[in-house]
Symmetry: C2
Subunit: 223 residues, 2 copies
């Protein structure tokens, strides 16, 4: 059965062409500077709702890609998002990715402060990697913690990707992120509304990494 | 800001109550034996389309949970799905989870056979863990490989979770899975159509693990 032996790179190109065609058929125009991110999120979810829900502060995608092209660091809020970030692309750019959710010191700090591990992990990461790209796909509390730190003025990341998923405080966390980032001039990308998740967070990181690395051969991405 | 300090377990209970209420408001009735899986997938995606797209062979959810309650193994097709599977719940049940996508021997086998790593990884896993729960959230080729092995009669897993996402061969892979599994009597759960992904695969595994473990305290799940 020949379908089984299609190469992943061919399938990806075909998939992205289908996505572009279906967006056009729906009359949806994505600004060129947002296409890499929007197309890759739809590729990761098969959900065209993201064409409408993804929001960018001016230049956010280009600024995020530029940070990663310069060997910038990525911090994620879950190990699942971390697992989805392309390590070959990161390695090619001289970058690295971190998640502190499973760090025993973070769990102890959360207990001591009476907060969640997600909040403690972001506090730790903001101190350790103050200029990184921060990608939050799960915990709205992590996004609120980043907003608090940015408003205090002691934290200025290269980009915040705010795509937590869910039903409690999620919508509000993304609205606050965009308001704070627009006001203080930190680049941000968010999926407004309830939808998002670790797959979406990883897809946005990878879109920026691939943009940063030029057109990496898919084989070099570890597919 | 009190929203930041809500406990993850409270948020999860509130979220699942919202999901049940909104399903009722939409006039959607989920059979009781499917609720744990359907509700948790909606929890992981905020996408109510899964209420219609998730399909189960008779007893599939109960049979999958029973396998995991007996210390059964989970095999995933991506490290991202593996990262999303609850390790505390698995440990409590005496089970384990594996993904062979990054295994150097699998990469070598794929090159030697002229196939994809996803197919080679499933071949390796089917031989190493023939009675496991197999969860495929990414590669339709992995699902086709499992179907081939089941049809040859030399492979009879406890359950196949077929939720790859995408635009090429994805719909067909899930239709073939359900046809093969219904015909030969292997339990299967699939998200028909294009949608799915590693988050969905992990959510289904976790729904079965939590069912198997009874009502695990959320703190014991590693949140």
């Amino acid at each position: 059965m020949s379908v089984k032996h299609s190469l992943p790179g061919d399938i990806e190109r075909t998939s992205l062409a289908i996505i572009a065609r279906e967006l056009a058929a729906r009359g949806i125009e994505i600004p060129p500077e947002h296409q890499a991110v929007v197309h890759r999120v739809i590729h990761a979810t098969a959900d065209f709702d993201y064409a409408a829900s993804l929001r960018f502060t001016p230049g956010a995608a280009a600024l995020g890609a530029a940070s990663l092209a310069a060997g910038g660091t990525i911090v994620t809020d879950t190990n699942m998002a971390l697992a989805g970030v392309s390590k070959p692309a990161l390695a090619r750019l001289g970058g690295a990715a971190f998640c502190y959710m499973a760090d025993p010191a973070v769990a102890a700090a959360a207990r001591a402060a009476g907060t969640t591990r997600a909040v403690a992990a972001m506090g730790h990461a903001a101190a350790a990697h103050p200029g990184a790209v921060f990608a939050v796909g799960n915990a709205p509390t992590a996004l609120f913690a980043l907003c608090d730190a940015m408003e205090r003025g002691d934290f200025r990341p290269a980009l915040v990707i705010g795509v937590p998923v869910g039903f409690v405080n999620v919508v509000e966390s993304k609205e606050r992120l965009m308001e704070v980032c627009q006001r203080i001039g930190v680049p941000a990308i968010a999926a407004m509304g309830r939808k998002g998740g670790s797959s979406v967070a990883a897809a946005i990181c990878n879109a920026l990494l691939y943009t940063a690395a030029g057109q990496l051969d898919p084989a070099a991405r570890g597919w």
